[in-house]
């Protein structure tokens, strides 16, 4: 990858923000020609970035009823901004797109979370117990569906001990439940989280145990820092890389898509 030379070059003077690094990492998870179920916030930009760089033939599916095979003609802050509807490939019903998802036609989706556990189960609904709710969060939206039905999904979230917990208070969007074989047992047809992109690093899942494993740390972050901010004894890959920096070209694109830095500002 072109980006690797940048990281290995200590003279690299590329200036970037943490959200830009995370969006670039999210974009790299998309493979050309894939059907991508695009979520709100950072994933919105991740898809645009992927589409403008290495995945020009990716198809974007937006749950409110939009399919796009081109980048919106102007910057958007939400998926319902009118430029995102202009010359779309299809404007339709949510059920149509959820049907494509349920059939197994969506390759990858992106989900944000408030709380995640070692098997990638996500909570965006209730903190505390249902008898004594500490915090009510906005809820599933389409996240439960994406986590249940996409071929794989990518989680993007802030890495803090109170968010990375041994067991989530409530499963809004299923990961691997209590480990290998769980998804099959409960009847989910496919899928599961493949990657977690956090404010500190990138995590993958052990193919056998389905447990989260630290794969890379962002520049300037140590493995110990990640461990300190994770609420269970996190497994670490034998070789932890540094997360690739966003390239000049990626940053220029992001500047175009988010000119005021609403999502990717410092």
């Amino acid at each position: 990858m072109a980006t690797k030379s940048k990281i290995q070059n200590p003279k690299s003077k590329i200036k970037y923000t943490l959200p830009q690094l995370m969006v670039a990492a999210a974009a790299r998870e998309v493979v050309d020609n894939e059907v991508v179920f695009v979520g709100m916030r950072l994933p919105l930009l991740g898809f645009l970035l992927a589409k403008s760089t290495h995945a020009p033939n990716a198809i974007g599916v937006y749950e409110l009823g939009i399919i796009r095979d081109t980048v919106a003609p102007e910057p958007i802050l939400t998926m319902g901004d009118l430029p995102n509807l202009s010359r779309a490939q299809w404007l339709a019903d949510t059920a149509d797109l959820m049907g494509l998802l349920q059939q197994g036609i969506v390759d990858v989706s992106f989900i944000g979370g408030a709380q995640v556990d070692r098997f990638g189960n996500l909570n965006t609904s209730y903190i505390g117990s249902l008898d004594k709710i500490e915090t009510r969060l906005p809820g599933s939206g389409g996240a439960c569906d994406l986590a249940s039905l996409a071929k794989r999904h990518i989680i993007i979230m802030t890495h803090q001990k109170r968010r990375f917990v041994p067991k989530v208070d409530y499963i809004t969007s299923a990961g691997y439940g209590d480990g290998a074989g769980w998804r099959e047992r409960v009847g989910l047809p496919r899928g599961g989280p493949s990657t977690v992109i956090t404010t500190l690093g990138i995590l993958k899942f052990d193919p056998d145990t389905k447990e989260m494993v630290l794969a890379s740390t962002h520049p300037g972050v140590t493995v110990q820092q990640v461990l300190d901010n994770t609420g269970w004894p996190l497994r670490v890959a034998p070789e932890v890389n540094e997360t690739p920096l966003p390239t000049e070209a990626e940053l220029a694109m992001l500047q175009k898509f988010d000119p005021e830095g609403f999502w990717t500002g410092a």
Binding site: L64, L91, M98, R136
Partner: protein
Amino acid sequence: MPDSKLLSLSEAIARFVPDGSSVALGTAQETLIPFAAGNELIRRRKRNLTLIGPISDILFDQIIGGGCVRKIQAAWVGNVITGSSYNFRNAVEQGQIEMEDHSNLMLSMALRAGAMGVPFMPARTALGSDLFKTNAGLKTISCPFTGDTLTAIAAINPDVTIIHVQRSDEYGNAHCWGNLGITREACLASRCVIITAEEIVSPDVISSDPNRVVTPGFRISAVAQAPWGAHPSPVPGYYNRDHQAFIDYRESSKTPEVFAKWQTRWVDSVQSSDDYLNLLGKERTTKLSLKNHVLSEVVDYGY
């Protein structure tokens, strides 16, 4: 010709949304959100409503803040570009409203079951999740053909669905374009449908393009003209999303005191769409208007 269904927004809400109704709103998700109608529910001090919607953006938070709500059946309630919304959060945390948790697919299927006249729809979503604990309308079943475990999603038939559209005739035949979200199934499943429209047009305009009609006019209860009736959400062909209004609202529901101020300014002191437009100001509406028009080709329905 049938009787005209044209009413003022105030009359439409008074007549077709009695206290205690279940009301589906915000069915197109982030576009065409019927904010003017939502404000009218607050202004008329409606009580004990059940709100049904996929993601409501800030609409549900406002109606909750207005004290109108007993129960929510929704997939997501918040502020799309800023995150949580506080009237909703506080009401659920303090046990003031009952919450039934859905996903977007579930809510669509619940309404589709209602629209199809069957008690439930099967799906493959949510298996293994805790949504089963906070939604009594979910059960697992075994497929009678394959034996697969499926999620059965109980039908929902709202008392009323309120939608905002671009244009309607006075009989309730309405054109709606853009992303539709769960609008079609919500209208079909509802006992009653209220349309708010940017423009009221002649029946010939609507019948020239029946594919664009969102739901059959004979099932509509009332039509009300509401220019800028979806502001601050966008209306394809009319105006863009007012991001600043959503950003400003983040601070407006943090405490009951600041929300009361918001309600006085944006709801209770407004009696008509003219009042609302005056409050918004010409500069703001000009900024939100379309700058690039993309007109579709005419289609021929001739014979």
